[in-house]
Symmetry: C2
Subunit: 380 residues, 2 copies
């Protein structure tokens, strides 16, 4: 299947992204423990921010008034925002994020009040105020935020619902996508490009219907969304049913997936870009990505690193590995020093960017298998 | 009194410090939200770490095994460690730190178990284990940590005790200082230099006795410690009774004081170096140092900064002011983003270093009054 894997260059008003590429999550217009100069120095090509968080705090109007998100947060490279839907529905459905990763949970939390044809009504996580997010509103907000790449509003269907719900939800998401596209076109000044989203859960016929839908519409790119199943095998199956059928003239993004093995799987299916909070979130909890480890990472708090004078990875060129020992990082986490979060975040960002660089080199020289073995010697 | 103010160059094995200088607190071998490259880029000449914290976690033996504190934490410039006494006694006495700043509190907490002629017995703040810190032990630990400048163990007398206690305590501190000096000389390899501490609280005759003591002993430098009184006026009085009488052939440090007005006062009394957690601690709570403000700072969380597109200070050359608006920093603190702590910390470090640079320039050109007016237009 490696023949579907591809090299590319995705051009934006803030520069080109060499693909396959990883997109890092600057959820609220910031990458938590590191500043944008550090993010860039670690080799990052593109970041994403979340419409849901920013529309509530500090609000899209304020960001626009401050000159847009690029200027506000000090990032002058390519940027994507999501539609806001994912957070509304994941908070509302309990935890869609967990379910997408295969952990089944039920129930609806209080923040999502109602989903209607018009949009999603929810309460702010900060002050409890009421908000209605419609496809049009999502486009307007993303326009104000000003990223290069924007995404249509969809209902992020949870895993535990049945096929009938998934189908109805998908069809509404398609109608929302058309409304998003119309609103996007209305305000289009050529500075932003719009991604459509493929829904359909784990059902092959629904995925096909959704693929046909996005291919038939004038989207710049396609993002694979919705539930990807209960485990990595099912995810790989859903991706293999979806990615190869998408219009290959357009960039393809896989939403919310960023494990090393998942990335090799996705690249082989023709995915161009990936995003996931995992590399930076785990860093803040002491999880450092390392090549060839069973869980793709090590936990720096573990006692075995207390007196370890070596860097996280001997062959790593990142800021952290060039300066600090595992013993020091272990000390920082044991002592609850904020610097520990910064240093492992920098390592994990560099690690992911280096992974993608070597994947691109592997594609260029037709040695992707060799690259995969190097980065995943312990893969299942 | 400005004639006592002086320029100097304090040479250490890790480079010379141009004085007057500010010493930043890397309490546990880290400056919380920023790494040592950032600390250096912000103009820092010298940092200090705390023996008390490091002897408990990760332990002096571990730091020594890892090649010493400089290597462990990635700082290759001049470094000082304190004796460990301040934290033991401040935690034990309730809050000496608060008292030194003029806030009277009483009582003894549980961590300090007993002060005897031998030393101070206390319990670890991490696991409750028992420790005895003696003058000899403090010297041995500081030797293992490996900084350039080390400090004798003293009892840090609280403010609320009477003259009799202060005198007895001071006299024991003098005996501890002699033991510290003997132990220091025993292990002296020329790589470290020892500071004696002046005690005596707010009592002129005791301060004189302590000044005479340190002047008579072979210390490299002198540090003014102990209670400095209930308010800034009393502190200025205690300093004026102490600093001018110290041997001016030796560098003079003022322990734990770092307000802008306090620094001008101290410089005019001949103080060469200052240290205080205030600039970096307040940064982590949204307090940004600014020239000419009533409290020497602004609170970025205040609503007035929500839509403020200007940097913290228009004339500041720091990393943060070159890139970010007050509106963005306000957003980061409202959104509880860790990056906010990093960015204001960087500003406050640069601010203090710039203050000291301009003070030195003011001394060089005999324009200290002009410098003071610029940095303190709202002084009382």
């Amino acid at each position: 299947m490696a023949h579907r894997a591809r090299l590319g260059s995705l051009k934006t008003p803030h520069g080109a992204i060499q693909t396959p590429a990883f997109i890092f999550c600057a959820t609220k217009g910031a990458m938590k423990a590191v500043n944008m100069d550090q993010v860039k120095d670690a080799g990052t090509q593109i970041i994403l921010s979340n419409t849901y968080h920013l529309m509530i705090q500090p609000t899209a109007d304020l960001v626009e008034k401050m000159g847009g998100l690029h200027k506000f947060c000090g990032w002058d490279g390519p940027m994507l925002t999501d539609s806001g839907g994912f957070q509304i529905f994941s908070l509302g459905h309990g935890s869609v994020a967990e379910e997408i990763k295969g952990k089944r949970q039920g129930g609806r939390a209080n923040s999502l009040l109602k989903i209607t044809e018009e949009g999603a009504k929810f309460r702010s996580y900060t002050d409890g105020s009421y908000h209605l997010l419609t496809p049009e509103k999502s486009m307007q907000i993303q326009k104000k935020l000003g990223p290069d790449l924007v995404v249509v509003l969809d209902e992020c269907t949870p895993f535990h619902v049945d096929k009938k719900y998934t189908q109805k939800s998908m069809q509404m998401s398609h109608r929302w996508a058309l409304r998003s596209l119309a609103e996007f076109d209305r305000g289009n000044d050529g500075k932003q490009a719009l991604y459509g989203i493929i829904q359909g859960g784990v059902y092959p016929d629904l995925r096909q219907e959704s693929v046909d839908f996005v291919n038939s519409q004038d989207f710049f790119g396609h993002a694979i969304g919705g539930s990807l199943g209960a485990d990595k095998d099912q995810m790989a199956e859903v991706i293999s049913l979806t990615a190869p059928r998408l219009d290959r003239a357009r960039p393809i993004h896989l939403l919310g997936i960023g494990g090393i093995s998942d990335i090799f799987m996705g690249v082989r299916q023709g995915i161009d870009t990936f995003d996931c909070v995992h590399p930076t979130r785990m860093a803040r909890h002491g999880g450092a990505l390392v090549k060839g480890a069973p869980k793709e990472s090590l936990q720096i708090r573990n006692a075995q690193y207390r007196e370890d004078p070596t860097p996280l990875e001997a062959d790593c060129g990142c800021f952290t590995c060039q300066r600090y020992s595992k013993a020091y990082l272990h000390h920082l986490f044991k002592a609850k020093e904020l610097l520990g979060m910064q240093l492992i975040t920098l390592h994990n960002i560099y690690f992911m960017n280096q992974l993608m660089t070597e994947i691109r080199e592997g594609l260029r020289t037709n040695t992707l298998d060799v690259v995969e073995t190097k980065w995943q010697s312990c893969k299942r």
